[in-house]
Amino acid sequence: MDTTIKKVLLLGSGALKIGEAGEFDYSGSQALKALREEGIETILINPNIATVQTSEGVADHIYFLPVTPFFVEKVIAKERPQGILLSFGGQTALNCGVALYREGILEKYGVQVLGTPVQAIMDTEDRELFVKKLDEIHIKTIKSEAVENIADARAAALRLGYPVIIRAAYALGGLGSGFCDNEEELDKLVEKAFSFSPQVLVEKSLKGWKEIEYEVVRDRYDNCITVCNMENFDPLGIHTGESIVIAPSQTLTNSEYHKLRELAIRIIRHIGIVGECNVQYAFDPESEDYRVIEVNARLSRSSALASKATGYPLAFVAAKLGLGYGLFELKNSVTQTTSAFFEPALDYVVCKIPRWDLGKFHGVSRELGSSMKSVGEVMAIGRTFEEAMQKGLRMIGQGMHGFVENKELVIDDIDKALREPTDKRVFVISKAMRAGYTVDQIHDLTRIDRWFLEKLHNIVRTADELETYNQLEALPLDLLIRAKREGFSDFQIARAVLKGGDMDANILRVRMFRKSHDVVPVVKQIDTLAAEYPAQTNYLYLTYCGTEHDIHYLGDRRSVVVLGSGAYRIGSSVEFDWCGVNALNTIRKEGYRSVMINYNPETVSTDYDMCDRLYFDELTFERVLDILDLENPHGVIVSTGGQIPNNLALKLADQGVNILGTSAASIDNAEDRNKFSAMCDRVGIDQPAWRELTSMDDIDEFIAEVGFPVLVRPSYVLSGAAMNVCSNHDELVRFLELAANVSKKHPVVVSQFIEHAKEVEMDAVAEKGEIIAYAISEHIEFAGVHSGDATIQFPPQKLYMETIRRVKRISKLIAKELNISGPFNIQFLAKENAIKVIECNLRASRSFPFISKVLKINFIELATRIMLGLPVEKPHHTLFDIDYVGIKASQFSFSRLQKADPVLGVDMVSTGEVGCLGNDTDCAILKSMISVGQRIPDKSKGILLSTGTAKQKIDMLPAAEQLYRKGYKLYATGGTHKMLESNGIPSTRVAWPDETDAPQALDLLHRKEIDLVVNIPKNLSADELDNGYKIRRAAIDLNIPLITNSRLASAFINAFCQIDLDTLEIKSWEEY
């Protein structure tokens, strides 16, 4: 090991976005742990405040700053580290590192890049260099031509022959890439790709080939191992982030497996990686021919998956290798006795399934292709493929019960749906099989390997057999066992055999029936060596393919089980991982055995180091009970994992499970709209008027009372978003006719929608009904923007004291009424000083890590101590004592979601968030907005304003004036232009897409003359939406910053007009 390195800077990956998510919290945390173990002082730059890596004790100095060369240089100048790690923060950190190297900043400050040298990174990132590099050792790559203009792109495509694939160089997870069958498609894609990168690659498409990945490790002594290989269920053509992935490969022979392994090692040696990299291959299904698709010279989503799939901590080991260790000097962290120089042997199969949230977006294309759209993923472990697959399909949490026995999917044209895969792909296969399609037919349409399809067909066959029975007692035992080994849940068996009725009761009947015949799962360890050596591992999963547990249960009731948050999705992501990890830490510290159940490979909570026992398994009622039957714990914590565990509370309590903290009945009283309202009425808490309605007449009658606008929440959604604000009768009718069904069976909840109201959040922890700690924060945007998308300011800067007092008083009342013991969150509307409660959750909320870190009081630790029944003290300081401001801003991933309208509304659409600190609001806003991808507009370019309704236009005037004074050239659409003109602010009028009498806004965007677009949607009328949509979408597709909310736009504009970036103070978290 290199002992001259005493201080190391690690770059994080920033906000979670599509293509760059929680996996980098996991890899960064592991790397920091590896450094600290060596006594090295660590500095972390990451604005993602909800992560575990930005928690106390993980790094020595944490900077909540944008991961851009500008800010990183400032931190380097201040901290003067000797080394920097670039490969643990995804593409963001890698790109930033390459820029710092190119600009000579690393050299200037004498900072050494640890691990893989920057030259090796550039050799893998630049396609031309990469191909050349691999040509040197006669390794085949995909025939590809790098072009720098559209004419060359066309010529290259003609040479290669269509279909071709277009990729932008240096882009995250396939951003700006896609397939084209002809020149017309090529023109469109190439233009978009050029907006992300000056270099675009045109490649021959190898659609239908297998896609195989290897995770390879090399130390500075040239010792190499491949830790894992993985096979995509979907053939080439679907981005690996969009594909179901199986580890290890299933359809490769020994010769193929080792041929690709040997190539991977030759590649890593030739490129000169020190640490970890990922090699992706296209592999001919009819021979041993191959092409290397790409090499990622950094930790990646795949490496996080490989670490979880094998138990081999790739990031941890890569960090040690970066410090100069040899693999032979490190131990296998699972066995603690054998060497880290080895290749894991799996005795199970792992299945990764992506989670999409495309339903949340208006207009988005649902087709899967070479660009990533999924927002999260799950990993399922089984000892049959069928078992892993069915577990995984339940884990993605989209209402599916497995491969079969789901709600009937409506598909007009099965052939087309098989040929053109969407997020429903696997369920289309299920449907096709049930409709009598043969494996060969499906293979011809999908090119998915027959082996996978045959396995899925086994599941269908078993379902068919189960359905021939109508009573559990008639079910042959070996059929029941086979079904369980193929991953059938009790629900699926209940639906197949018992057909209908009360499913909750039926599930319990199946459970009792199988337990009476001793059909129960066994617990197996993941030990990296397939049981060859004894391992003390606590990394566990359940399977029906086994006769004996690996674990000996003591039955000492010293376990405390924490239910995790499942797949990352819009609305639930890394923040709940932070909550879970902090609950585990507290449990452990207090001498209990900490037990986690979760199945998200991107998380820190599923790192087996974080707890005493990790069950990498489902969070279904059935599986949680299976585990509790074995663990026999002291109690279960359901309040730190978001909505999934929260929803299990009542059902688990009914089975006699000890729910720690707030009672399940109280949770139900808060969750159940009617019960909650009754309580509010009883104690005199105001809520916006609402009613659950079952007919159009009733709806009209209710609206006559409260007036428009109203918030409409259908219980049964046909398509599109689940909620909507309707401003007039036309909109209401359109929404209800198009999107929802109103009937006795499917009621609609209609609430009064209060405009221009502030939204205020209360995050708190209570003990037996008394609030112990609290944090009140305010949204920058007015109510109407989902709290997960809103920009949140803490402590509040612009709330009346009276408002704060009332919020506190109501919160106290609710805590007392519901006898809360643990975390909770209440959302309020405040207009003048009238306070209304809009939501109450008796669990940790999304903002817990943010307020905990800003306030420097760990709310989860407090809450966990309370839930364990331990004494707690009220913290000594409150939000009134802190003299800085935290801003939590949202990260959107619209650029990846082709055709989606990038507007904000009552349904959440952001994929991540950051939280930055500043001496005042402006400083914090500036840092946080830059962190989520905004930039300070270039003065040589213009700013395009379309500022919505008259009221919003007036609200935006001061900001526009500041821009003008600052010397920005303003462009404005008709109404906005008029408003600016009449207020003495010069601007150039531009035309909406449906106008012709002025320069086209779209042309300006395409010519790159605009560097910021402020486009506030006025209303939901069709024209308005269409016109605005075209501009908004063009901004996104051309990578031009876009803001769609007037309050946020004003705040951001105000911040960058007031403050010069260079004057921002660079302070670490502990310095505030």
Binding site: Y221, D222, N223, I225, P248, Q250, T251, L252, T253, N254, S255, Y257, H258, R261, E262, I265, P285, E286, S287, G326, L327, F328, T337, T338, S339, F341, F342, E343, P344, A345, L346, D347, Y348, V349, R383, T384, F385, D449, R450, W451, E454, K455, N458, R461, V522, K524, L529, A530, A531, E532, Y533, P534, C545, G546, T547, E548, D550
Partner: protein, 357 residues
Amino acid sequence: MQARKEVVLILDDGSRFRGYSFGYDKAVAGEVVFNTAMTGYPESLTDPSYAGQLMVLTYPLVGNYGVPRQTFEPDGISTFLESEKIHAEAIIVSDYSENFSHWNAVESLADWLKREKIAGITGIDTRALTKLLREKGSMKGKIVFDDENEIDFIDPNLINQVARVSCKEVITYGSGKKRVVLVDCGVKHNIIRCLLKRDVTLIRVPWDYDFNTIDYDGLFISNGPGDPDMCETTVSHIRTAMKTGKPIFGICMGNQLLAKAGGAKIFKLKYGHRSHNQPVRMVGTNKCFITSQNHGFAVDNNTLGDDWEPLFLNMNDGTNEGIRHKTLPFFSAQFHPEAASGPTDTEFLFDTFIDKI
């Protein structure tokens, strides 16, 4: 799905595992050993070193890519496999895959087993079985159908397995300038392929053949099944050969026989090394390799004579993985540089051998 017969695997400690037969329906007995490789069942089954053994695969999904055709090149070497036939007594898996999918497959694993009259059983908790073997050591076992006494336990290590699997007469391959004698203790065909690739004349002789009577430039001692102590004849021939100072290279059993010829002792490992992921380190260097292994016996490092030293050591348990003579061109590896199945990191050892000639 056709009805499968229920079977019981009985170990000599009395443990029982119930499963289904998917191969040839016959009672068999032998030594139960586990292999943690995740690919390569066609290669392993035809590896003569598995003679007399019931092979447990810890990777649960087996049969996925079927079995390639069993054809032979003009010189008699199998095109895809490691010998002429299946040598293992049985294969024991958790989840046999009824359907296979691969361009190079001609039949399913089940059909092949049936054709070669080899037992195959599935539905076994192979992890529980492996843990048992790890804790108690490799055990005798038998697979029975209807009656527990259908067959008696057999200890294959009491039988001269090498004599069973070795060739019966001298076979010559290739026409290279360098003449290499290959002592066949149960050689894998990929060893022959690896040597022939390096342009030699290869003279394959039976295990007990006195190769000192023929003219050669280098001596190769192959892998093989069973207890090396059964091969004293071969050891004494090696000892004679050593006097000539001509290069010697041994693999697996060959490592043990060379060590014995050099005076070292062999002991039986508790449960052996059978996998594709055994890490070895070249002694005195920072060079480490992932190797394919299949052996139940090992050379005792402490008994190596003064002229000898360990060449490789196992990084997990410190056992011997190869030896070399301090001054003469004699060396050997306990692992399988020829891979097939397994990683190909150490194929360079064949070059080392040929270069020494």
